[in-house]
Amino acid sequence: MFKALADPTRRQVLQLLRQGPKSAGELAESFPVSKPTMSAHFAVLRAAGLVDSAKQGKAIIYRLKMSVLEEALMEFSQLLGLNLAQRAGKASGAAILRKAPNK
């Protein structure tokens, strides 16, 4: 479960599924990654028991299947991930400024 929640793309998939069930195609459209990569993400989420899927015609529909604790953990890791990303952004910005020649 922690592995599933560790990836930002998977967390975003879960955020999208909060609005309601979505097809694999609909979800994949929201991310700039290849379909096999998305399928791998879906497989990890399914294996962790965070989503449930059903086949409707040719499409595979996904829906959220998270406990309150899992959802809270997701929010927490989202917040932590965001902070880490912001820190990383600030750090790289500071490094660029240090490298830049003084005018």
Partner: protein, 143 residues
Amino acid sequence: MTLKRTAFAIALAALILGMAAGLRYSQSLDLIGPAAARRAMQVAIGLILAAYSNLMPKDVGPWRSSAAAVARTQSALRVGGWSMTLAGLAYAGLWAFAPLAFADVASTVVVASAMVITMGYGGWTMLACRASRKLPLDVEGQA
């Protein structure tokens, strides 16, 4: 799955009964006072409520024919799960730390409010689902 759940529920019931008996016995030996025994029991009840409610949104049930119905069921389960889990934690917290007279009233109010929210939202969701079914146009996924 059903067997696992039943076994879990029976184990939990045995734990509650065992805890009640243990507290009673400790009380008879003057190891703890009646207030502490009552607090301990109520905290356990609050934590059990929170643990059960935590799993509520995970129990998604069978797939429905309409995407809107699936979305509404999911949102009703999430609202119910969150409100009852928070109520269970608040119940446990109140019985652990608040004065007994206050905890007695406040814990009941907290759980009753969560139940009203859960049942109210569930009822509203069901009515909205029925209303959208009566619409002549196919509004699947948009309602």
